[in-house]
Symmetry: C2
Subunit: 385 residues, 2 copies
Amino acid sequence: MQESCHKDVEQAFRIFEARFAIVKQPGRGWDMEDLSNIMLTCVVLHNMIVKNERDEYDDVDSEDDPIIMGNRRSALTRSLSISSLFGARRYVVCYNCKIVARNFRMVSYDFFWEFKVVEGFGVSQVVDSDNPNFKPGDIVSGFTSWEEYTLIYKTEQLRKVQPESMPLSYYVGLLGMPGFTAYAGFYEVCAPKKGEYVFVSAASGAVGQLVGQLAKLHGCYVVGSAGTGQKVDLLKNKLGFDEAFNYKEESDLDAALKRYFPQGIDIYFENVGGAMLEAVLLNMRIHGRIAVCGMVSQNSVSDPQGIRNLFTLVIKRVRMQGFLQSDYLHLFPKFLEDIIGYYKQGKITYLEDMNEGLESGPSAFAGLFTGKNVGKQVICVAKPE
Amino acid sequence: MQESCHKDVEQAFRIFEARFAIVKQPGRGWDMEDLSNIMLTCVVLHNMIVKNERDEYDDVDSEDDPIIMGNRRSALTRSLSISSLFGARRYVVCYNCKIVARNFRMVSYDFFWEFKVVEGFGVSQVVDSDNPNFKPGDIVSGFTSWEEYTLIYKTEQLRKVQPESMPLSYYVGLLGMPGFTAYAGFYEVCAPKKGEYVFVSAASGAVGQLVGQLAKLHGCYVVGSAGTGQKVDLLKNKLGFDEAFNYKEESDLDAALKRYFPQGIDIYFENVGGAMLEAVLLNMRIHGRIAVCGMVSQNSVSDPQGIRNLFTLVIKRVRMQGFLQSDYLHLFPKFLEDIIGYYKQGKITYLEDMNEGLESGPSAFAGLFTGKNVGKQVICVAKPE
């Protein structure tokens, strides 16, 4: 962890330690393992708090129910699968990376202060609800939390899941936000044409693996990068990429890209930022498109790498566009139909890395930053009843 | 000039000195003044060469004319106005800035070797022509050179000018490539909507001044930045910008932009790159657009500043798009009609910085990098006959 991050984390820890008497080894900087431990502690603590809330909930008369806010009615849900990535990053990253913290408007300095539970996407089963749209037993996906039971006030963001013989955990991945990010980003932002040259970084991740497969179905030539030999092998032999390489084994990324794309890159699905983006810029073709989705390599550094090659945007007339899937929700029904169709026809496959038990969340999350996971990292919290 | 550029320039100079015995002061790096002197020398030398070519041209029988290449026929033109900016930059920048040199594929290392004349846009009068589309006396605009007479082989790139009571020099500025860059960039790349907040850097330049005025005509709120108090004054009091500021007087560009755009920026017409782009990224609004046109601040440094705030492209879903006017040539007739109409109705104005005589070209060019010019820098070479 970068030196300049220490102060914030130290401060958070001092408050944390004061309240919970967690002992830190003297003379050692805080690392991912520490954060993982803190998060684990918070998850456990929060589950205790929520359990109390749930008990209270059962006793409240619905007429005076304080949880009914305006037109929004609540649902108490039981977590089934949670995605380890998104929500959690919002928190940890803020300690880790000043620049992202600023972008996120410092939402999360209260993580340690107020011991809010970590938020994230998940699939849950409704236990009880005073919103007539949700009945006990319904399966829903949406923003939930790292806990066994969640009281959800913003029920309008929940989406009912019709399992249709698809694994439930797929609704936090292939059929959830990551899959939809790949779908909207590739078709709407990249505007692909048959025969174009497509490069995907973090290609074995939840988003990248689908982008590559959609690009192949679209008639493109697709190369992916990943961080281990095992992932490269999966990309080439299981996910149908034309080529793949381990970026950690390339001392010169520009040269590597020139080897795989002697004719240049039409579309870059950008998941990592940093040195890879820099090298890609030198290899873009005229009128190329860069869909900016991630820049994950820059999330865990407080001093992100500056990109020097932006002048190629002019020379090659490149469109570089940031996007969030939430701007394309009108396409969600078509996305589900298309992807479930492709999956059932055997035209796409999907890699998951499943951990069992809520307690495995923090370490699985920390593992994302070191590339431990293969495919979409999911935590199975419980089975549906 | 940066250390790492010296080697190339030194090498060029060694050849130059060997042939022309130009004496360089020992122990001093090459600077803009040196380059300006070299260019001046080259222009003068080249004019001698071209004069010989012209004399030869008069003697050649058109049947055996070696200058007829395929369907292209040549025209001998006399320069009237030349633009000091574009073509010349292609040459000097290559010695100045590694990264741009790479983008331009090292086109110009032969500048000193072969003593090619500096290319650039200009308005010329046809002296003689074996292409039936051009008759002596015709006024044309297009790629020409820094010389009194030019033999143009690629006549298909020439555009006949119907003066229509507009000053001829406007055809290298307001009604030429810079004006069309502003027009295509603003309407096609920025996709403006009435009421949006528009920021233009290098706002008093040939492109920027028109972008700002078009944005005002479109019903936008427009702020420009420039590098002197005089330019700021012109922007506010002559060119109709809502606000303008001198970026050299702002120690914190982010704070300056927050002052002028408390609600954020919808459209940034990017002419300078570097620290300004970095600050703008922090102030973009959701679904903002950045039309990348220049990055001129990075042209004269061999180690361009890396841009660290690109993550905001994702958070704010910003589209950042490089462009060249040459991709929009189908719009050129409409551009001329629109802009001449606006000008004659007094809805837009135009600032020119006119130098007299071909010899003033190199120093005017060098002045662009220090902000000496006010408005479009033009060299008047001769008057039409």
